[in-house]
Structures are given as C-alpha cells and as structure tokens.
Amino acid sequence: MGVSESQIPSHVPTRTSRRTFVKTAGIAALAAGGIESILSARRAPAFAQGTKLHWVRWVDFIPESDVELKRQMPEASKALGAEVVLETINANDLQPRITAAVQSGAGADIFNFQYNWAHLYQNAVVDVSDVAGTLGKTEGGFYEIYPPSCSVNGKWLSVPHSIIGNAVAYRKSWLKEAGASEYPKTWDEARKLFAVLKKKGKPYGQTLGHTFGDAPTFTYTMLWAYGGAETDKSGKKVVLNSKGAVDSVKFMQAFWKECCDEGGLAWDDTNNNRAFHAGEISATLNGASIYIVAKRQKDKIKDDKGEPMWPDIDHAPLPAGPAGAYLLFLNQSDAIMKYSKNVKLAKDFLTWIHKTENYEKWFKSQEGYSVGPTKVWEKNPMWATLDPPLKMFRTAAQNTRLFGYAGPSTAKATEVFTKYIITDMYAKGVQGMSAEDAVKWANGELKKIYEA
C-alpha cells in the first residue's frame, strides 16, 4: 500500500489522505472515460472496475435498430459504471450459444429469449420479478401473451422486451386487377382470389419449411382458424386429431396447389421477402420488414414498370377460417443467466434499457416492426407519423395465442415447436399424404412428447 512521497505528483497536497487522492484520481478517470465515450461510440470506455456486462441479442431484421442499440451501449456504460457490450448474432445461433453457456456455466450475462424459452431454460435463469413487475406496473400492464410465456409459477423469468407482429403484405395493384378492392377476409375468399392470381403467374407465397418465424405463424394460425388445437385446457391431453385439424389440412392442400408458389417448401424466413421484392409473389404473411426495406431501398426494389415498389404495398390482417382469425406473434424478452456474476448490474441495465427515453429511441427506429411490451406504447406519437400501411401493426399484439394451445405453453409445447411437428403436418399433407394420415402422424408425435 506504499505510495512514497516522491510518487505523489507535486500539485497534490501531501496532507491529503491517500484515500481522497485515490478517490479523486478515480473520479477523474471516470469522467475522462465518460467524456471520451460520448465522443466515440465505438471505443469501449475504460473504467476503474473492469466489470463487463455482456448482452446477446438476435440480429434485428431492421438493421437501423441494432445501430441505435449499439449507440446506446456507451451511454448505458456511463450510467451504470461498468462496460456494457452488445453482441448480435443470427437468431438461429441463439440457442446453441445459450446451450453451451448454460452447460459450461460461463458466457453472456443477458440473452435475448424468444417465444416461451423462459419455460425451456427455467432452471438456468434468475428470477426477475422485481424488474418485470415494476415495468409492468409503471407502464400499465403487459400484453396477455407475456405472463404465460415469460413467467413460470408466478415468477417472471425473463423481462418482456417487444413483440414482432405479422400481417399479410400484398400488392394493391395486382389484387385490384384480379377484382379485389381489399384483402379477402376469409380463407375461402382468399382461395378464390389467389387461384386467379396464380394463373397470372403471381401466386401467394409462404414457407412450409423448418423456420422459426414465418412457418409457425402460418401453420399454427391455420390450425386455430379451423378450430384445431394441440391439447385441451389442462395441457395434458392431446386433442390434435380432430375434425378441425383435418379440415385445415385439407384446406391447406387445396390452397397450396391452387394458389401458392410451390417452391415454398424450401423457403426459409428470408425467401418470401426476396420473392416479394422481386415481384414473384403477390402476397405473403410476414412482419413489417418487407415494406420497411422496400421503402428504405426504394431505388433498388422496383416493380415491373421500373417504379419503386413500396407505394404499392399494403398490409391486411390474416383471413379468418370457420373458427375465426388468430395470430401467433414472436415475442421477445431478455433473461439473466444464473451463472452470471453481475446479476444486480444486469437488472439495473434492463431497467435502464426500458426507461422511456431510452426505449423510445429504439422503438422509433423499428418503425412499427415491433410493438412495445406494454399497451402504453400504442399511444406513442410515432404511430401517427408512420405510413398508412404500417399503422395496423399498432394493435398487433392484442389478439395472439402461443403454441401449446389450448393448454399452457410449457417446455413440451416448445418441443413440439422445435420439432416442427405442426408445420410438417401441413408439409406432408401438401406433398401427397392424405389429410387424415398427416393429422394422425402429428397426433402420434405429440402424444410421444406429452404423454411420454
């Protein structure tokens, strides 16, 4: 502990205790670091403690939002007194990273969770009821989808972040040419309309492949639209093999053949965006990214007349089946891992990120692609400034279900989801299996999982 007299700089009065000296020097270092960090968003500020908080998120489909978040990191670092690092990786790579981190007991402190991963990783994350509870209270309550997906046994295991809505993006002029002044409200109407359009070489396009975004939002909702369900309310009995499910598969078989781009079996979450931008399909269920990107790259994405495509794009809600219209949205949340050494810091960070002034900046950069976790964000003035086609995403999160319906969305429902059983049920039906057999197969697979 020896700081000899000769080492203390001459301008520091020697009667000052060492403690004050160190404190002053420390504060000076902090201040210097803080100012520098504002000046250069890229360089990580140097802090006395060396604590690092590592946040991993998916690569956002709206690149500008990631830029905004990365810009916020130095601010957060300054506010919290530790270095905060944001890493963005491909959504498909989130799970291997989480798995390796949990199993080896070391890795990022906060991971971005999707859907109901809180159930899947419930024993590896920290109880965040304090953060989530406060957030919910101050902002007027979370959407209904969050408690079942992010809390387990009454404890919040991940902090809700945002919900990505989806709707059908379509080409207004093409539908008008085919005689539709607005998007069909039921699946039967849609079938008639798109059969006409497919004959003109402008089919409906959707994926039935193994994707985490577009395929489930299309297939699960089709099942629900016809009254099908995976389990009963208790979540213990598998009820998939029902008339509703068989009817939905039968419909899908007809719709696929008559109306869809049959290459969709090999599509991933990006193919429909690209096909739409290239003018290959007339409509597809997707998030708002098709419109947003078309507008942002208006000189690259043109229609067949050479004009920018974006004014011709509009959105409509998913059509209804006999049992109604239901939606499945991708809800995002953040979870703090148990092995983290900075749990308190992580909680403070999540509170900071959700502070209105910080969250709002991110929210605005999304331009409607996601909605906030709570209803208060529906009132945000940003919605008024958006283009009309994006306005409908404002109330997107209000009427959604999660997989595992009608039972609670537990780890078993996630297993069904990650095994793509429901999606494959339709893929098999569309490839030649009879509807009854496809449903029977899926039912059997579900039974193995739920009643093992």
Binding site: V56, P63, E87, D93, A106, G107
Partner: protein
C-alpha cells in the same frame, strides 16, 4: 493411325477433363459474378427480360469494399489463418511422433492404441461440443483462439497419424539399421533419416489439416463470441445474414476472399508435394 490416336485423345481425355473443369469451377465463376454484381441486379426476378445471370454489364467492387471496411473481415481472415496454422503445427507434431511410434516401433498395445486413436475420429463433433464447452470453461479458454487451437487437433491428429503411419511403414527398415550401425542413435536416426523421407506425407497431412481447420464451423460458433475474434466461416454467416436479408454480394465476396489463403498454401505446397512424391518413391 495418327488420326485415330488424336480422336481417341479427344474423347478419352480432353472432353472428360473439360467437363470436370467446368463442373468443378462453375460455382466459383458464379460466386465471382455474384460478388461483382450490383445490388439492383441481385434482386431481379428470374423471368425479367434483361436477366443475365452469367455476366453483368455493371461490375462493381462495392461488395468487396463493404466487406473489408464495414465488417471485421480482415480480423476474421487473420484469426482463421492463425488458428489454422497453429492447429496444423500441433497436429503435425503429434501425428509425426505418434505415426512413427505406431509405424516403426514394436511395443505392447501398439495395435490397440492405434485403433483407439482412430476410434476417436468416429466421435461426432455434434456430440462433443457440449461437454467440451465445460472443459473450455475450466481452463478459461472461452472466447480465445486457444479454445480452437487445442480442440481442432482432436479431429486432425487421427488422420495425420494414420497417413504418416502409412508412410513410415513403407520405408524399409534397412535405412535405419544402416544409420545405427554407422553410430547414430535410434532417436537421431529417426530425426535425421526417416523424417526427411516422409516429407511428402507430412506435407499432404499438413495441407489437409490446414483445410479442415479453416473449414470448421460449430466449435468456432460456440466457443467464440466477440466479433473481432471470430473465424471467417462464423463471421461471414453471422454478420452477413441479417435476419430477412442475405447480403449475397458480400457473402460471395467473403467466400472468395476467404478461400485465397487456402489456395495460396495449396498452390505453394502442392507443387512441392507432387514433385517430391514422384522423386522420393523411385527405387
């Protein structure tokens, strides 16, 4: 008769060779064209009248520039090169020693040990990466290149050992005997006589080891997290496939640039290797 021979040469040699060359290199041509094609053309429909997939009238270097400037691609290139070289050296070292021991020395359990080294090759990485994550953490190697430099040899060593074992077995014992009669120790004979003869084998094992390390994906994905520390395969895939959008131009540019070091290594060593091989085995 001369005309007949020429006809035969064309049918049996030139035409098949040309087909092979076209078939093998066509994807590279395609990658090249995509990497110099402007974005507007990349988004065009296949039925558009002016669709020209095989050439472009507006070549641009913007993808390459974006790749080098806006991503950490130069870092990735260096990381991958460093990791590949280090793993190759380690596996060659181990493989050389082990190959010699198994190929020329007699000792109990030689057969069993040889087989068990080989059997480790059968264990798939998709099984290993979870328990390995634990070990990496214990040694605190996470997010460092050493995590990969020490784990890559696990699939490189068995192959190097086997290749070199084969080489060593074919070298006649007399060479060593003569050297030892002349006064050399066994160890000295090993280093001074036997190893130089096996240089072609060492080179080919080295080439394959380098390639396999360069190509590896899953360990690199799981054990590295900072963007500047990533390797080329992982970095390109994670940074250039942003959700809805594949930056095809940059992806292909990355693929081409990412193959250059490997191609250089090969072109340098393959020459050496082939001539060395034909030279050494005569007689």
């Amino acid at each position: 008769m001369v005309i007949e021979r020429r006809w035969k040469r064309w049918v049996y040699f030139y035409i098949p060779l040309t087909v092979f060359v076209i078939g093998t290199l066509f994807p590279f041509y395609w990658m090249f064209i995509t990497s110099i094609r402007p974005d507007a053309e990349l988004y065009r429909s296949w039925r558009a009248a002016n669709n020209a997939p095989f050439w472009t009238l507006h070549p641009t270097l913007e993808h390459f520039q974006d790749l080098m400037a806006k991503t950490s691609f130069p870092h990735w290139l260096w990381n991958t090169f460093f990791i590949a070289c280090a793993s190759t050296l380690i596996s060659l070292f181990c493989g050389l020693l082990a190959g010699y021991a198994l190929g020329r020395l007699k000792f109990p359990m030689a057969g069993t040990l040889g087989t068990s080294i080989f059997v480790t090759y059968l264990v798939p990485p998709t099984l290993l990466f979870i328990p390995l994550a634990n070990i990496i953490r214990t040694f605190q190697l996470g997010d460092t290149p050493w995590a990969l430099i020490l784990t890559y040899p696990t699939f490189l060593i068995p192959f190097s050992t086997w290749l070199l074992m084969g080489y060593f077995k074919t070298i006649p014992k007399e060479l060593e005997e003569c050297a030892r009669i002349d006064g050399a120790t066994r160890f000295g004979a090993m280093i001074r006589i036997i190893f130089p003869i096996a240089v072609p084998g060492i080179l080919s094992a080295g080439i394959f080891a380098f390639t396999l390390s360069w190509n590896e994906f899953i360990y690199a994905l799981v054990f590295l997290s900072s963007p500047e520390k990533k390797t080329v395969p992982v970095g390109v895939v994670s940074e250039l496939i942003r959700g809805d959008i594949y930056f095809w131009g940059q992806l292909m540019a990355g693929a081409l640039l990412g193959s250059i070091p490997g191609a250089l290594v090969y072109s340098f060593f393959v020459e050496y290797y082939v001539t060395g091989l034909t030279g050494s085995v005569k007689g």
